[in-house]
């Protein structure tokens, strides 16, 4: 198997040349950009709202132990079960055991990126359970046996034609170019699943410590159905989802919607705080909440990048990222794509194997500027580069930089070197952009800028003499 880094190079190279894909992404995101900025403008003070949101999340992170315990106590008091999982395999094992104990056949899921992170579907399917993704986009990529393309818009890369072909093939549907007809096909197919499912699995966008509730943000209603109809409701969430108080959601819900989808508020923002109580008429008999660490405490231990735990997974940094918009979501090869994925994946899955994502950046800072919780994303990309080299730099690279430092610290030598390179430059032109070119790694995809007739040093000398 090729390394993640060489796979990324292959996939990214292929994708950037795919102009149809690029147009698709630009078009998909153009509506988002407009509504996002008009909704941010509706805020009386969007910038202060960002600072406030960052502050609240920081407070949660600084007292994470206390808030998690409070969250657990409140939930358990209302009859829910809370399971703590150190890593992916513990979380999977708990859910598998539960599914076996319940003799479940059908498990319906609403969108949860954490389940992608722990590869839950594969594990459940291997054990013989039927797993149905209910979010329309997730349903589509599940039918295609693909991972989600984008943490918020999983099927953003597909055209209605491709989806119609897929539904014809897998659901025996009539061909159509009408997104509404396609949506209704999925609605009909999924209705039956909700009603017969034994277990519903959802994620959570926020976990309220003060009241012991999870908050789920969605548009379709599939998370409401998933958390209402099956007899057992399983919630899978990372430990960083905590917010201290219920009232904090008055800020986070509209901010998540604005940054995530460009809406003022998404269609359903639901708080679930336990299985059905004695006086309630419906809802699951059991609620199991799985709190997952899976290297999040490693991020927490890195004081420099701890702020990434503020992330509310809105996807805004993906939407504005020139890299994401050109290489697309699948090239990353990660659960979390875009700038946030590039920053945290090295912590979750190993710095050396995943640091190449931090190199794939122009450091333009659009991500940092758009982030609703002010994560210092582009500086973190730079820190990952530094950390990767400090941990295990290539001797060749180190030698190169040492030689460079040696030369630039000696003005005469530097001037001499420049003159030689300038003298040799016409020779390079003969081989320009061919494999024989000494600067081929650069010129194979870019133009080499030509030397100015007079260097800055020359001009400076003329001015001062």
């Amino acid at each position: 198997m090729p390394s993640a880094s060489s796979q990324f190079n292959t996939d990214a190279t292929r994708m950037v040349a795919d102009l149809g894909h690029r147009q698709m992404v630009q078009q998909s995101l153009s509506g988002y950009q407009k509504t996002r900025s008009s909704n941010a403008d509706r805020f009386q003070d969007w910038e202060s709202a960002r600072s406030r949101a960052a502050t609240i999340k920081d407070e949660a992170i600084r007292h994470l132990d206390r808030y998690l315990v409070e969250f657990e106590e409140k939930l358990v008091a209302r009859g829910a079960k809370v399971f703590w999982a150190n890593d992916a395999s513990e979380a999977r094992a708990y859910i598998l055991d539960l599914a076996r104990a319940k003799q479940a056949r059908v498990i319906v899921k609403s969108k949860t990126m954490v389940s992608e992170e722990i590869h839950l579907n594969e594990a459940l399917e291997k054990a013989g359970f039927k797993v149905v993704e209910s979010d329309l986009g997730e349903f589509i990529v599940q039918l295609r046996h693909e991972p989600p393309y984008h943490i918020v818009f999983p099927a953003m890369h597909l055209t209605r034609g491709q989806i119609s072909d897929l539904f014809q093939q897998k659901l025996a549907a009539q061909p159509t170019s009408d997104p509404e007809a396609l949506t209704m096909t999925a609605r009909k197919a999924l209705r039956q699943e909700y009603i017969t499912a034994d277990i519903g699995i959802t994620g959570a966008n926020f976990a309220v410590a003060e009241t012991g509730m999870i908050s789920i943000t969605e548009n379709e209603g599939n998370a409401r159905l998933t958390s209402s109809l099956p007899n057992t409701h399983v919630v899978l969430l990372g430990i960083e989802k905590i917010v201290p108080r219920l009232a904090d959601l008055a800020l986070f819900l509209p901010m998540l919607a604005t940054a995530g989808t460009g809406q003022q508020l998404t269609c359903y923002n639901s708080l679930v705080g336990g299985p059905r109580s004695a006086e309630e008429i419906d809802g699951p008999e059991e609620m199991h909440v799985v709190l997952l660490d899976n290297s999040r405490t490693r991020l927490l231990a890195d004081a420099e990048q701890r702020d990434t735990l503020r992330c509310i997974r809105c996807g805004a940094c993906l939407n504005v990222c020139p890299i994401f918009r050109n290489v697309g979501g699948h090239a990353y090869g990660t659960t979390y794509q875009g700038p946030i994925g590039s920053v945290i994946t090295p912590h979750l899955r190993g710095l050396q194997s995943w640091q190449h994502l931090s190199q794939a950046s122009s450091l333009c800072g659009a991500c940092t500027e758009t982030c609703p919780v002010k994560i210092d994303l582009h500086h973190h990309l730079l820190q990952n580069r530094r950390n990767a080299v400090a941990e295990k730099g290539s001797p060749f690279q180190q030698l190169g930089f040492r030689a460079f430092a040696f030369v630039v610290n000696r003005p005469r030598l530097f001037g001499f070197a420049i003159r030689i390179v300038k003298f040799l430059a016409p020779l390079q032109r003969l081989f320009n952009a061919t494999p024989g070119d000494p600067v081929w790694p650069w010129t194979k995809s870019r133009e080499l800028p030509s030397f100015a007739r007079k260097s800055f040093r020359d001009l400076w000398k003329e001015r001062t003499s």
Partner: protein
């Protein structure tokens, strides 16, 4: 050590860690790179203590008119852009007539409502089957009704949202399974903004919150296919909000949770 204890121990250990990088010995680059995060963390620290409740958040969120008429107008405007049908009725008789009109227009064949709810007093002139949902109601039956009719806890002018709970909404499924959801609200339930909605929830229910509470903002929707808006993805394709009464009308019994 079980997972709970080891996760909590790792968290405490991580938080004890200093404010520098986990990799020691990169003085120059490090100072430069971390300058910004540290500066921001400092401001965050100083701002962190006084989280001044809802008033602090209120001045950041979208502006809402102070007066009732302005708030109704904002709710109407939000409803329009969300494709929620928003209807106003002067009194209960008018609401009852409005529901009859809706039933005829939509060709309702049956409806569902919370059991023992005062909503039925508004439905006396509808001669179609009325399913009162209870513990024994089958999901398949609820799915087949033409509309689910519920009360609510509040309407929120700022966002055009309906706040309902398992208590006010006749459980979890009634407001999401039927293809058309009709909400009956009184004018006294109209709140200006989200902070007011959370204040209401705390005042009304804490610490015994219903296990399910939701902010409904328009009919169910998706944009997952080429970002084209389609209504009725999984939840109701239609949402109708009927606001009964004008400024100062007192809350009515059908807005209280039904007696069980």
């Amino acid at each position: 050590m079980n997972a709970r204890d080891s996760i909590l121990a790792r968290i405490r250990e991580a938080l004890r860690g200093g404010s520098d990088s986990h990799l020691p010995g990169h003085s120059v680059a490090e100072a430069d790179l971390s300058r910004r995060s540290v500066a921001e963390a400092d401001t965050a620290e100083s701002e962190a203590k006084p989280v001044d409740g809802s008033t602090g958040v209120r001045r950041l969120l979208p502006k809402v008119p102070d007066d009732f008429a302005g708030q109704v107008a904002l709710f109407a405007e939000r409803s329009e852009s969300l494709k929620t049908e928003f209807l106003r009725c002067a009194d209960e008789a008018a609401a009852s007539a409005q529901l009859k009109l809706l039933a005829d227009r939509e060709g309702w064949e049956s409806i569902a409502l919370p059991a023992n709810s005062e909503i039925r007093t508004l439905l006396t002139n509808l001669s179609i089957p009325k399913l009162e949902v209870s513990r024994s109601t089958a999901k398949t039956d609820l799915e087949k009704v033409s509309a689910g009719i519920t009360g609510c806890d509040a309407l929120i002018a700022q966002t055009g949202s309906v706040l309902l709970t398992a208590k006010s909404g006749g459980g979890r499924a009634l407001s999401v399974l039927p293809v058309h959801h009709v909400v009956i609200a009184t004018s006294s339930q109209l709140l200006p903004d989200l902070p007011a909605a959370f204040e209401l929830l705390e005042r009304k229910y804490a610490p015994n919150f219903p296990t399910f509470m939701t902010f409904i903002t328009g009919p169910s929707r998706t944009g997952d296919i080429e970002r084209v808006l389609v209504l009725g993805a999984h939840g109701p394709r239609k949402l109708t909000v009927i606001l009964v009464g004008g400024e100062g009308t007192a809350s009515r019994a059908w807005n209280q949770p039904p007696v069980m």
